[in-house]
Symmetry: C2
Subunit: 411 residues, 2 copies
């Protein structure tokens, strides 16, 4: 393991809280977010008073159309009994990552030392109608021509298979199913996960077709849930806990909202740019990362992440998935191996099995890494010694991407 040197922390996470993900019929969205926020504040080891919080950064996507709710700061002022500055950022499924990105800038500005970051979404109330709502993260022309979000990712999947697995389609399709199996396997020990059951490749292939070749079990679910973090300036970190987790890289990039206008649909330019920038910011390579949370909204996206981030070469992600699964089947976690690089992706189940309440996801990823790096991830704890984690959150089909790097020990 390469030693990480001279890392300059931007901020530190000192507390984290979340709700279970799933169908949460009895809570409204602001109560879910308040529950996560209060848990996060309560989890701070050396104690944190509510009045220590100087600002809040929230992320959520569809609350206006699904929950008939606006002005999130006004709701959260009530729920948390605070009158401090609050922002709510909407960046589709990337809303949570975007909230954290802005929170890091808030801390870096010197205006705040202690902020609360939260993400939430309450989707199940809308039942079938949510599929239309989600197309707000796409271009209306895509919607008007009949696309659903699964349809857009199906186009990416078909093109990927065509371009990079010609002649070995069926193995590539198996790799795309194995990602779902792996993430369900990883979620078995995660008490908050929406799905805690093993999947077989056969289950995936026999599940209902949604948008050929995407089947139900290639998709992340419709979920309710909220997650919150207490984020502080690096100087204040040890005041609140003996084991802060430092944010050492925070980057965001954007791209044309419309899939058909992109340079390529077998890669996400915003992910590539944000990852390049975050690795440059931290002087790291993907070989330095021990665990990553990748935005596996559909299984193809986990493969694209491996390639866009530079963990492996373009077109080789599916082979690595396939070979790694074969090698590590049955182990507690199934790492991806590329030469001397080894990376555990979505150790708690990812969007696929932990759940995907869209605005909460980017914050949930950091929650997961915070717990993993502190050795507090319970049944999902990775056995290897961990020091560096990366979180990758995108919005829509890649109109925005936010990438954060977290470390336990700065040197």
């Amino acid at each position: 393991m390469k030693s990480i040197k001279k890392l300059k922390p931007l901020a530190a996470v000192v507390g984290a809280g979340r709700t279970k993900f799933g169908e949460l019929w009895y809570d409204n969205p602001e109560e879910l977010l308040a529950e996560a926020g209060i848990k996060a504040m309560g989890s701070v080891e050396h104690g944190l008073r509510r009045k220590d919080i100087q600002a809040c950064y929230f992320g959520s996507f569809l609350y206006q159309v699904t929950n008939k709710l606006g002005l999130v700061p006004g709701y959260m002022a009530r729920e948390l009994g605070m009158n401090i500055p609050m922002s709510n950022t909407e960046a589709a499924c990337g809303s949570g990552g975007s909230a954290l990105y802005n929170a890091c800038l808030g801390i870096r500005s010197g205006e705040y030392d202690v902020v609360l970051v939260g993400g939430f979404e309450k989707m199940t109330d809308r039942s079938g109608k949510i599929i239309d709502d989600l197309m707000l993260a796409g271009d209306p022309h895509e919607f008007d021509t009949g696309y659903t979000f699964a349809g857009l990712y199906a186009s990416m999947m078909v093109r990927y298979i065509h371009d990079y697995a010609h002649g070995s389609d069926s193995r590539c399709r198996e790799a795309l199913a194995l990602i779902a199996c792996k993430n369900h396997h990883h979620a078995m020990g995660n008490e908050y996960a929406q799905f805690r059951r093993e999947l077989t490749m056969d289950d995936v292939f026999k599940s209902p077709l949604v948008a050929d070749p995407i089947r139900v079990l290639h998709c992340s679910p419709i979920s309710d849930g909220a997650v919150a973090l207490v984020v502080v300036s690096p100087e204040m970190a040890k005041k609140y806990t003996d084991t802060p987790i430092y944010i050492v890289g925070s980057q965001q990039a954007t791209d044309d909202v419309s899939l058909c206008s992109r340079e390529s649909i077998t890669g996400i330019k915003a992910t590539r740019l944000a990852t390049e920038n975050v690795l440059k910011e931290t002087s790291m390579t993907m070989g330095d990362i021990h665990v990553a949370e990748a935005h596996d909204c559909f299984t193809i996206e986990e493969i694209l992440f491996l390639e866009d981030s530079g963990f492996c070469k373009r077109g080789e992600g599916w082979k690595i998935v396939y070979d790694s699964y074969e090698s590590f089947k049955g182990s507690k976690h199934i790492p991806y191996v590329n030469g001397d690089r080894e990376l555990i992706v979505n150790a708690g189940g990812g969007l696929k099995a932990d759940g995907h309440p869209v605005g909460a996801t980017g914050v949930r990823q950091v929650y997961e890494c915070f717990k993993q790096l502190r050795g507090e991830a319970g049944g999902s704890q990775v056995d290897n010694e961990l020091n560096v984690a990366l979180c990758h959150n995108i919005g829509g089909t890649g109109g925005i991407a936010t990438v954060h790097i977290l470390v336990r020990e700065l040197q």
Copy 2:
């Protein structure tokens, strides 16, 4: 005039652009925002290349429900041809001010030297349905009991008249009408304003009743429009223009979204907190402010601003409005006078006459002050020499308030 000393600028505005406000049937929202953004970039005197922009901060409210649009960063990446970090903040009618507030933190973080700040809203497409949509900025219980937004402000107006004008109701009601007359008068020279016609008190009293005692002409209109600013670090300001306008104070506060849960409904606590903090931040008093943009969504709110900000005592705002109007009727601008304090409010017509595309308003206020302080406000230019301006933007009935102070000369 007290001399302002030792002001530490947070950021500087070096360019500004806007669209006309009104019923803009032929443009979609992202095109309006792009038009404003391109005008803002093009207005920078010493030249600004698109690639100089390092991040974008947008604000808008109802785009999901009114325009079936989400993930604003993805749209604006396309419209502006950029792949940089972008955020969209939703804070109801306070979205624009909130975007600028976050932009100032972004600049102060040291991560960016040059950012684009924009606000937009395209409301007219929804015609009557927009009145329901706007209730997303209120509590659903308020909506369910039959309140509209005018109804909520009518409650505040009734209570205000009851508490502070007992025995002289009719003069107070006249003051509430005169605010509309004044703001229409101020808009006469504003080429971008939605309404450029004089109103008489009689017009206001004869206009249709909306929610007793609020009549149509007490209300700001439903509008389309967009505004953008180029905001840079103080150190870079003179590179881009010889006459930057400095942002020296930037504060935000929040409060319970629901009117019935507030400590008082004849004052906005969030405005009071944000103004107190911004005056403290700049070591100023309201007597130092030459022009202010107040959030006159309904005329009662302009009176509350005068009192919440400390320009005058609680309950005396309406008298100052009445007496000032009587004294200065017919002059180009009608200042509010309280002892030795004199303040011109909404020099370009405010929300009432310039228009209120909700997400654009907080940015439009800064546009107006930027132009006024530079002496470039054309037909609406205030004749007095101006150095200090304040912008007050709220969301909902005061669930959030953002206040900025701008100056031309730092000493």
